[in-house]
Assembly symmetry: C2
Homo-oligomer: 201 residues x 2
């Protein structure tokens, strides 16, 4: 979506408010009054600009014919990634097991997908086998964060420790050894940062 002008943004926000409050899009006349315009054409101009820029879709000859094209306006929830096929991107369709009605903005930073946890290696961090890990996509992470990493076609959840050029992926379970990655020899592909846990009992 191209960048919107501040006036266009105001119009867009009014439309969003309207949908939230009244459960339906506003009429052009309603926008005109709310914005304080003297002519419905002022609104039409903005609407057409918003449509050109991909923010909304206008349905011709239809009352309240404004549709928000926000990515994820009617999304089915967050994708749940189960077993990951070797050599395929994490969010490739064949890895998505299902969609779950979890609010992405419940977590901070926002969750982008859910990963079904396998194994007991993070047990002492309260992350158990079968739990759904809420993950925020990010190629970088801070020291000490729990991350989702890719190692030789294996997806793993571990705590990140970095000392100079060496990264340790530590389990939270004494039965599992830490994995050592020397950044001088190999690269570490981070798939994201763990931002939450959801478990069905």
């Amino acid at each position: 979506m191209k960048t919107l002008t501040s006036r266009q943004l105001q119009v867009l926000e009014f439309i969003q408010d309207s949908i939230r409050v009244a459960n339906m899009p506003p009429t052009i006349a309603e926008i005109t009054v709310a914005m304080g315009f003297g002519s419905t054409n002022a609104t039409r101009g903005h609407l057409q600009a918003l449509e050109r820029k991909g923010a909304i879709e206008l349905i011709p000859n239809s009352s309240r014919g404004i549709r928000l094209v926000q990515a994820g306006a009617f999304e089915p929830g967050l994708p749940l990634v189960g077993r990951v096929a070797a050599g395929r991107p994490l969010l490739a369709e064949e890895n998505i097991e299902d969609y779950r009605p979890v609010d992405p903005s419940f977590f901070s930073p926002r969750a982008d997908y859910l990963l079904r946890v396998r194994g007991e290696s993070m047990r002492d961090a309260g992350i158990l086998d079968g739990d759904l890990l809420a993950v925020h996509r990010s190629p970088t992470a801070d020291n000490g964060q729990i991350v989702v990493a890719r190692l030789q076609d294996e997806v793993t959840v571990k705590r990140l420790r970095r000392t100079g050029q060496v990264v340790y992926l530590e389990a939270e379970n004494p039965d599992f050894p830490a994995i050592e990655v020397d950044l001088k020899q190999e690269t570490l592909a981070l798939e994201g940062i763990a931002v939450g846990v959801v478990r069905n009992l």
Copy 2:
């Protein structure tokens, strides 16, 4: 809400579908076509019946002026219960810290509220201090389930074990002893069954 006739229900369902698909209520004409009526008045009759019965609200002289009055259409989410005041019901207003956008039906059975967990007594079950426990209200529970119980104005989360007339509330942490409740002497007030865990990392 009074009971709807099957025809009225069909109209209501079309309206609901319409809102879900198009993100706006339908016009009377759209309903008329969808239902196969020859006259918009057939629809108007149904709409007025639906309004009388409290299923919808009609906004006069407004295009698409149909508002669903479903309970919980704009619900704020699940109540989050924090510290519980002595002698007050769990879901009394002063115990509700906030509302969180969690889908109740994500859990099974349905979650009725969230309880902020205090302490480490359920650590080995992967329930940590600060976690949000999704709880289904229930006065009874099966053996082995994790329950929310009330003991002398204290709310506690424990695993339930019952042998005859004696109930043990077991922690999942060797540092905490089990609590023994003799049903012949005292009653055990169950506030609900744990159905899930949500954690913000």
